[in-house]
């Protein structure tokens, strides 16, 4: 666990230490992106906004009243992000239709999220590059069945005549390649437009 102890961080932020605020952002931003990506249904703009909103709320709280148990700072931050995501979904739903509480409650479900407006095009482009680079059609199909069709590993292995070790190896290779493509190549807007994504 590489968490900076909440007590120390909250004390420094309360005392006006700007570097402590930077540390807090560095510490929490990746986790917030995970939590909020799940709740924003691929709307990249909304994801960015909510990450920023959450960090602002937490920093302002720590500058002022603080929290009762600083060791629970990660849990407090996570709950703040969830609340903001739910509020944002409800607001979007109100703007789209008249108030419909059933529908609102359904859409507040973390597993659902809003329809994507500004999707993660870089990821789509990297996936295209990955699919081009994967040597075997079998590997591409395996990815589709595992990630998109949500089939269990055991069923995929059985139907594609693969051992579990071979499956894990292929999956791990694909993940590594995907990460490498995103990290090393980077994509500009021009790339995205030229590919018509």
């Amino acid at each position: 666990m590489d968490f900076v102890p909440g007590g120390e961080l909250t004390r420094r932020i309360r005392e006006g230490d700007v570097s402590a605020e930077s540390e807090l952002i560095r510490q929490f931003e990746p986790g917030l992106r995970v939590l909020l990506r799940r709740r924003t249904g691929g709307d990249h703009g909304l994801l960015q906004d909510l990450v920023q909103d959450t960090l602002l709320v937490v920093i302002q709280r720590l500058r002022g009243a603080g929290i009762d148990d600083p060791q629970k700072l990660p849990a407090f931050t996570a709950q703040t992000a969830r609340n903001l995501a739910i509020a944002s979904l409800r607001k979007a739903e109100r703007q789209r239709t008249d108030v419909d509480s059933d529908l609102t409650d359904r859409n507040a479900d973390p597993s659902q999220g809003v329809e994507g407006h500004a999707e993660d095009l870089e990821a789509a482009l990297a996936v295209r590059a990955l699919l081009r680079e994967l040597p075997h059609a079998r590997d591409r199909l395996m990815l589709k069945r595992f990630y998109l069709d949500d089939h269990d590993k055991e069923i995929i292995c059985e139907e594609m005549d693969l051992s579990e070790a071979a499956f894990n190896q292929a999956l791990s290779r694909a993940r590594r390649q995907f990460r490498q493509i995103l990290e090393e190549r980077g994509f500009s807007k021009r790339d995205l437009l030229s590919l018509g994504l």
């Binding site: 666990m1 590489d2 968490f3 570097s19 930077s22 952002i25 560095r26 510490q27 929490f28 931003e29 990746p30 986790g31 992106r33 995970v34 990506r37 799940r38 691929g42 990249h44 703009g45 909304l46 960015q48 906004d49 990450v51 920023q52 960090l55 602002l56 990660p74 931050t77 996570a78 973390p110 993660d120 095009l121 990821a123 789509a124 482009l125 990297a126 996936v127 295209r128 699919l131 081009r132 040597p135 059609a137 199909l141 990815l143 589709k144 990630y147 998109l148 949500d150 694909a174 993940r175 995907f178 990460r179 995103l182 990290e183 980077g186 500009s188 807007k189 021009r190 437009l193 994504l197």
Partner: protein, 208 residues
């Protein structure tokens, strides 16, 4: 936490309590969270590609097609290099520059922030304008700032890029734009962490 739990979380196969505990763990462990985010982005990218067509998942490997694509990529790189060389030689003064100690030569200030639901974009004044980009920045890392011109058909032309920029505070990053060298139109400043795969933040503005 292990890879299997990452898969379960991303597939939405954890109970609510498990997922919430997993999320707190991600906040406590940023490196682990980055792993999870790659998994989320891989799944999202596959979903987007498959919405266009599933042909990419089932196509056979075609060496000739790959060679043609490689040749096209080389040509594209050469053309881009040629264009960049000529574009640079046309302009010796910086269109986009870092804020230096001497700010007396700037003629105005523009503040850019991500405002959800805003109908109008800020307008850039004439002269050398100091631009304050408001967001959440890490003062300990370098950022890359790009100035893009947005065309009427959504085409994007990157006019200038500045690397190695530092945020002056955790909430402000500043640059200077020579507005007189910009034509009328819509523009965007894109800010991203240097050497990072994270998506850029876009700040739109207009020049009248």
């Amino acid at each position: 936490m292990n890879q299997q739990q990452i898969e379960q979380y991303v597939a939405g196969k954890m109970s609510q309590a498990e997922a919430e505990a997993f999320e707190v763990y991600c906040l406590e462990n940023p490196e682990f969270a980055k792993q999870v985010e790659f998994e989320q982005r891989l799944k999202a990218g596959l979903a987007q590609v498959s919405r266009g067509s599933t042909a990419e998942f089932v196509r056979s490997n075609n060496p000739l097609r790959m060679r043609l694509a490689a040749a096209a990529a080389v040509l594209l790189c050469l053309s881009a290099g040629f264009y960049a060389f000529h574009a640079r030689s046309r302009h010796s003064q910086p269109l986009l520059s870092a804020v230096s100690g001497d700010l007396s030569r700037t003629t105005g200030t523009m503040r850019l922030a991500l405002v959800r639901g805003a109908d109008t974009a800020p307008a850039l004044q004439k002269g050398r304008v100091r631009v304050e980009i408001v967001g959440l920045f890490d003062t300990g890392v370098h950022y890359v700032v790009s100035l893009d011109r947005l065309g009427p058909k959504k085409e994007v032309d990157t006019l200038a890029t500045l690397s190695g920029q530092h945020a002056s505070t955790p909430m402000t990053l500043e640059v200077v734009i020579d507005s007189d060298r910009l034509e009328r139109g819509a523009y965007s400043l894109r800010v991203r962490r240097q050497s990072s795969d994270e998506e850029a933040l876009d700040f739109g503005f207009v020049k009248f």
